[in-house]
């Protein structure tokens, strides 16, 4: 059975507070902070992008796993902010970690769930003995249109997972997906910023898909919710996952460890993988983790994960990156994110 052999996280160190953005647009910061349950978000440096974030996360995953990168037979990078429209992020990442050249690679895109789709592909390739190890990464440097509600949450970060069958630190016992064509959020080719169907993003998109995938996983695997020690839901804001947990009767303590958006924002393809990484950082052998991603457009991938006795200390835990902060003014942020043309 395929499982996680190693994992690694990366979050850029810059942050911008909700107050700083709200001030520029004449909005009430407190009502936004309450409404979205978010304090601040991560911002990439000028010289960081999805490829550099994915590479740093992959290097951390490799040093956690302690495997020879030449054993990696597949590299998939899931993102909605690949630096190139045509030229694979995955090839650059693979080259940087010395996994090239005998391997397959591709970039994935499915709004915020491309990283978990990459994990599923690697699971199938490992289970069918096509590859010994697969590397699945979810990473993004997402942008919201200046003044748009998404500007408060669109953040940057990522996590990488080495999937294999030997010496797994956590086994992925089951996965279940739920996908429909739903117009909740999109970005047309050549457009710099996304658009969203405003209120359409909640019930028919996020809640329906995350819940359907999660309930499908429970039924398929014969699990009850009580068996899980931790739950990670995709977190476009700090509010949605809490609301869903309440509706499903999941105690909030189980959600807390993997809920990063209130402090770092929505890292899109990085969000569920980073939430899961934060849980693995503290999980003990035998514990069970439920993780369900969501990507607009729309779909969810749900996973039942059992931690094994091979789990060990992560030298670069998510919390280390989450607490490494340097605050920006809106002007500095606009320069960073190339909202100002030079």
């Amino acid at each position: 059975m395929a499982g996680i052999v190693g994992y690694g996280a990366y979050i850029p160190r810059y942050r911008i507070k909700v107050e700083e953005i709200a001030k520029v647009w004449g909005k009430d910061a407190n009502s936004i902070k309450k409404g979205l349950n978010i304090q601040e978000k991560s911002v990439p440096a000028v010289d960081e992008d999805t490829i550099t974030i994915a590479t740093e996360a992959a290097r951390n995953a490799l040093s956690y796993a302690g495997i020879d990168p030449q054993g990696i037979g597949a590299v998939y990078v899931g993102s909605e902010s690949h630096p190139y429209a045509v030229k694979p992020s995955a090839a650059t990442v693979a080259e940087a970690i010395n996994a090239t050249p005998v391997m397959t690679a591709a970039d994935y895109e499915f709004a915020c769930k491309a990283g978990t789709a990459a994990i599923q592909t690697c699971m199938a390739m490992v289970d069918s003995n096509m590859v010994r190890y697969g590397l699945a990464i979810g990473a993004d440097t997402s942008q919201g249109r200046p003044g748009d509600a998404l500007e408060y949450t669109a953040a940057a970060g990522g996590a990488a997972y080495i999937i294999g069958k030997e010496d797994t630190i956590a086994n992925i016992e089951a996965t279940y997906s739920f996908t429909t064509d739903t117009p909740d959020f999109w970005r047309r080719a050549g457009q710099e910023y996304p658009r969203h169907g405003a209120r359409f993003t909640g019930e028919p998109a996020y809640f329906k898909h995350v819940r359907s995938a999660t309930e499908g996983l429970l039924e398929k695997g014969g699990y009850s919710l009580d068996e899980f020690d931790y739950v990670v839901f995709h977190q476009p804001n700090g509010k949605f996952p809490i609301r869903l947990a309440k509706r499903m009767g999941i105690p909030l303590e189980k959600l807390k460890v993997g809920l990063l958006t209130p402090m770092i924002g929505n890292t899109y393809s990085g969000a569920t993988p980073l939430g899961l990484a934060a849980v693995l950082d503290i999980a003990k052998p035998g514990e069970m983790i439920l993780a369900t991603s969501f990507g607009s457009g729309a779909g969810s991938d749900s996973f039942a994960i059992r931690v094994t006795e091979n789990i060990h200390k992560n030298e670069r835990p998510v919390q280390m990156y989450a607490s490494r902060t340097k605050y920006l003014s809106y002007g500095e942020y606009a320069k960073h994110r190339r909202k100002i043309r030079m």
């Binding site: 000028v46 010289d47 992008d49 490829i51 550099t52 080259e95 670069r316 490494r324 960073h336 030079m342």
Partner: protein, 139 residues
Amino acid sequence: MPHRKSLASIWRRIPQRYRGESTMCLNCGRHFFPPRHFCPYCRRKSKIAPYTISGRGKVMSYTVVHVAQEGFERQVPYVIAIVELEEGPKLTAQLCAVEPEDVRIGMPVEMSFRRISEDKDDGIIHYGYKFSPILSPKK
């Protein structure tokens, strides 16, 4: 790092710039970075072999750049440092993930993967290493 650099020269340096691949001399044990194909100390006795550097080192000296060359305008002020690698070689590189006022001589640093430059809006993006303070989980 000027713009419109030849694609061939960017491509040839990928192993060095992405992974720190270099060489050492087996005769005297000296490590080189960037790679040398001849040991200036051993000369005819040179025994050159491939070697990948650890990527860790210390800041020997540094300067803060306020007037950037073309392509680096968004990053000012930034720091260019001479870094001594654990294996011995010294090299000049940009520092990242640190404010100029926080840089110290002797500060331990490691290679981070970053965008180095790009060929306008439609050209190739050039990736490689910069040096950042070594991250430690205890803080």
